[in-house]
């Protein structure tokens, strides 16, 4: 059931596609010293072969269009097809980024309206649409916070991150040159406020928090934490990965967050594309507004324009104005849902997560007390006596027609199984999913070896990731060899985000 690579199907004598000829007169020729010596070994395939090749590859994927994707922290909800139609409208898809502003008023207005809507949802003053993804948004927010402190003559070198945080948090902080200080989670799965107090100082630039946190629990002491952080002059940063719990329920801005990133590819239904493109806008409170990336979109005399003249801006974080096509999709979703629909979406997401959590009581370990918000973390450690791990549970779910939850994250829960059902899965699907998990737990007790051999009916079985990392083959070559030398670092388990 595997499919050869396009390169392996290539037929060396096949002519290229029919394309127009130049049809103009010129004597110019590219000088020899600039010419490519060896043509690139791209495959030579006919269109029928290409279409069949990629159709076959498509059939080897699980996707939200066909399977339930309970990936905790990833908010895999239904991607409305109208969003795709809107993004393909010629007035959007055909628009050149350097067209004069008077010929791009619709695009600028859409960006302005989207900014206003997102500001209303999260409770901030202004927002940049430029960052291309969540991690890019985190980094953009930290750059603004860094510039803010520097503008006040303060050299703050530390960023505090909870031990349960997404890996992108410490990585983004390090990319900004900050030293990462970890704060512990308490037994109840929430930030240990005493530990936070101990770690706060005037060296700290920011505390990065997810709320609800990665265990799906609301940080009850958020207001106290915000006060502590602000008292030291530091800023509070909100990782928006879990915003799907909060629309119309409460707002990060009201909790005291100074900078808020959002994942349009999670909460706002832009498709994940097998790993992007996403979009990671960042909203900020008033004192960070001068540092927003430029240009911003401004309304003036009934029209819209790009404002490049922002002297305190951190500059640009990417080319042009962001992943505009994803902004169109998210805006389409927001218009269709409205304030009422978005509120219902978050409430249904919370209901679904609690319902599913309750149905797994006694099936997997539930290490923290509920209720949960839009997701929850279970543990497969109750299966350890059978020699069954979270990874086996994940593979068992694939065999039973479900994508796997996020496993082995957050790091503070052993054998973590992190489940986020979202508001777009029916009760029948949720029931079928818990039935599948019960079947897996039964199999674990009865026939653990069978479970460890799953999946059996997918194009490939479990792949040897350790061997793949020791002797990496990162591209096709006529005769295979390693592309990065050998290494002894073990391969890592799958993870979220």
């Amino acid at each position: 059931m595997t499919e050869p690579l396009s390169f392996e199907k290539s037929r060396p004598t096949l002519a290229g596609p029919r394309l127009p000829v130049a049809g103009v007169e010129t004597s110019a020729r590219l000088p020899h010293e600039h010419r490519r010596r060896r043509p690139p070994a791209l495959p030579r395939l006919s269109e029928p072969e290409i279409m069949r090749h990629y159709s076959r590859l498509a059939s080897m994927n699980y996707s939200i269009s066909e399977q339930f994707y309970p990936l905790g922290s990833c908010t895999m909800k239904y991607n409305p097809v109208a969003n795709e139609e809107a993004a393909r409208l010629p007035g959007f898809a055909g628009l050149h980024p350097y067209q004069d502003e008077d010929t791009a008023q619709g695009a600028l207005e859409l960006m302005w309206l989207l900014e206003r809507a997102l500001c209303a949802i999260v409770g901030v003053e202004r927002l940049t649409l430029q960052p291309a993804a969540g991690a890019h948004g985190e980094w953009t927010a930290l750059r603004m916070i860094q510039a803010y402190h520097r503008s006040r003559g303060e050299d703050r070198t530390e960023v505090i991150v909870p031990d349960a945080a997404h890996g992108t948090n410490p990585a983004s902080a390090a990319l900004c040159g900050f030293t990462v200080v970890e704060v512990r989670s308490g037994k109840d799965g929430r930030v240990d406020v005493a530990d936070l107090e101990a770690k706060l100082s005037n060296r700290v630039a920011a505390l990065m928090l997810t709320n609800p946190n990665t265990l799906g629990l609301f940080e009850r002491q958020i207001l106290e934490m915000a006060e502590m952080v602000h008292a030291t002059g530091a800023k509070l940063y909100y990782d928006g990965a879990n915003l799907n719990a909060l629309m119309g329920v409460c707002r990060p801005g009201d909790m005291g967050f100074d900078a808020v990133h959002l994942n349009l590819h999670k909460t706002f239904t832009t498709p994940h594309g097998g790993g992007g493109p996403g979009a990671g806008p960042v909203g900020v409170k008033a004192d960070l507004v001068p540092f927003l990336p430029r240009p911003t979109v401004e309304r003036q005399n009934g029209g819209f324009r790009l404002d490049h003249d922002r002297p305190r801006s951190i500059g640009r974080v990417r080319s042009f104005y962001g992943n505009f096509g994803m902004l169109v999709r998210a805006f389409t979703y927001i218009v269709a849902m409205g304030g009422d629909g978005l509120t219902d979406a978050s409430r249904d997401a919370i209901l679904a997560a609690n319902y599913l959590r309750r149905s797994l009581d006694g099936v997997l370990d539930l290490p923290h007390e509920g209720p949960c918000m839009h997701e929850f973390v279970a543990s497969a450690r109750n299966l350890a006596p059978h020699g069954i791990r979270a990874l086996d549970v994940a593979k068992g779910l694939l065999e039973r027609g479900f994508y796997a939850p996020t496993v082995y994250f957050p790091l503070i829960v052993s054998e973590a199984v992190m489940i986020e059902p979202t508001e777009t899965e029916s009760r029948a699907t949720l029931d079928a999913f818990s039935a599948a998990l019960r079947d897996i737990v039964d199999t674990a007790a009865r026939a653990p070896d069978d479970l460890r051999a799953e999946p059996r009916s997918l194009p490939v079985g479990r792949l040897d990731e350790v061997a793949a990392a020791r002797n990496p083959v990162l591209r096709w070559r006529p005769d295979a060899e390693s592309d990065a030398g050998t290494d002894t670092t073990p391969a890592a388990p799958p993870s979220p985000h």
Binding site: E3, V21, S63, M76, A120, A133, R143
Partner: protein, 441 residues
């Protein structure tokens, strides 16, 4: 409500199973003073009304005919084979997540493995990653690789780099702690890398081999920012010895979309593979000896190494990489060369005709170019406005970034600017020349 699945009965049954009266009881961990009731936004609309709203907004943008678009500057109108969107609009691709579970994600993983191979072949480098956000951030990631690899903290920009790319580099440098300077004369033993764009922002060909040699003489890395279509005819970074090649892949099957989403690519020498940012897909085998693909060398990445990762990137631009994969596979080596050659010939034919118009001359007549070229023009603003009236998106005025070149306009030509379109442009410019002469003369 659109896209919500539960009936009132479903909700009731779920609440009953939880032993609560209402969803509000599940929100008890949220302090009362934080609770809001709804969002200050308009109520939702039907799909029909929603789409009417979106069409109305789209209608307020002027869309120039592809063939009458002569403006580039990093985003180009190119012919996109129907096969590209036919593949990328398959929901099995566009609604899948990052391929964490390889057994259920072989389609995406194999397509990325093909993408990595295609980019490595195109750039003549050893390895390429699974994609980055865009050309500008790809360049910034490459610079950071060089900073870590050499332990040096200065990056030299040679030639005319896209001003927005330079601005992004500076923004990353301000955070990460490297300094960006311009001009080869600033090279020294603190230099981590020499960065150049080939062809340059103005469309001019740089001495890529010479710049690479200069970098290596100082113990710095050579980072080439390249146009992927150009590599159908132009010497690729691997042939002149660059250490890292990056670029923007928009031209490989993606629409302009007001600047994104597009796709950045990065390719490197084999010994730099473990310093690459982001996802890498590698070949693996299952217990029955079947070949498959997995995310690999993950020990570089944020979810494992956290603060010590090579980059913070997580979500990249996979679907755009898939578009590029289908595009390059469709074109093959001959198609890609033809696209590059046709663009080259049309641009040169256009340049020859433009300089015959009074008041227009090549800005750098001694320099070679490919399919984008700078001209000096009298009455720039007036002439571009006349073109706009004629439905033509004229060249890109660069004065807003490069004040010394305020009268310089960069025109680009691709395979979509057919000979009739060139005639229309030339005639419109000639007419505006006559009219300005008549008016000023």
């Amino acid at each position: 409500m659109p896209y919500l699945v539960h009936s009132a009965d479903d909700r009731r049954a779920m609440l009953e199973a939880l032993g609560v009266e209402s969803i509000d009881e599940l929100l008890r961990d949220i302090p009362d003073r934080l609770r809001v009731r709804g969002i200050d936004l308009e109520p939702g609309l039907s799909e029909q009304e929603t789409m009417a709203r979106l069409r109305q907004l789209a209608g307020r943008n002027t869309v120039f005919e592809d063939r009458l678009c002569f403006r580039g500057g990093g985003v180009y109108q190119r012919f996109v084979p129907a096969a590209v969107s036919a593949v990328t609009s398959k929901p099995e691709f566009y609604t899948a997540y990052t391929p964490y579970q390889p057994e259920a994600s072989q389609g995406t993983l194999q397509a990325i493995f093909e993408f990595q191979t295609l980019i490595a072949e195109l750039t003549a480098m050893d390895v390429a990653n699974a994609s980055l956000y865009d050309g500008a951030t790809a360049l910034a990631e490459a610079a950071m690789m060089a900073v870590v690899h050499t332990g040096r903290h200065q990056v030299v920009v040679a030639g005319c780099l896209h001003p927005e790319y330079a601005e992004v580099l500076r923004c990353y440098g301000d955070g990460r702690g490297f300094e960006l300077v311009e001009g080869l004369d600033r090279m020294g033993d603190r230099t981590a890398a020499v960065v150049f764009q080939q062809p340059s922002f103005l469309g001019l060909l740089e001495d890529a081999a010479g710049l690479t040699e200069a970098a290596h003489r100082s113990g710095a890395l050579s980072i080439a920012c390249v146009d992927p279509i150009s590599l159908g005819m132009l010497a690729p970074p691997g042939e002149y010895g660059a250490d890292i090649a990056v670029g923007e892949g928009q031209q490989l099957g993606l629409t302009p979309s007001y600047g994104g989403p597009h796709v950045g690519f990065i390719a490197a020498r084999r010994d730099l593979a473990r310093r690459l940012p982001g996802r890498l897909v590698g070949q693996a085998y299952d217990g029955r000896g079947r070949r498959g693909y997995v995310l690999t060398l993950t020990a570089r990445e944020q979810h494992i190494r956290r603060a010590k990762a090579t980059s913070n990137i997580c979500t990249n631009h996979s679907l755009c990489a898939l578009a590029a994969t289908v595009y390059l596979t469709y074109m093959g080596p001959d198609g890609l060369r033809q696209v590059a050659e046709v663009s080259y010939q049309r641009a040169h034919a256009l340049a020859e005709r433009l300089v015959a118009i009074p008041g227009i001359e090549l800005a750098f007549p001694e320099r070679e170019f490919l399919n984008e070229f700078p001209v000096r023009m009298f009455h720039v603003e007036h002439r571009l406005a006349r073109l706009k009236e004629a439905g033509i998106l004229g060249g890109l005025r660069v004065g807003r970034w490069l004040p010394d070149l305020d009268d310089v306009v960069v025109f680009c030509c691709t395979e979509v600017n057919d000979p009739d379109a060139l005639d229309l442009l030339v005639n419109a410019l000639a007419r505006s020349a006559e009219r300005t002469e008549a008016r000023t003369g």
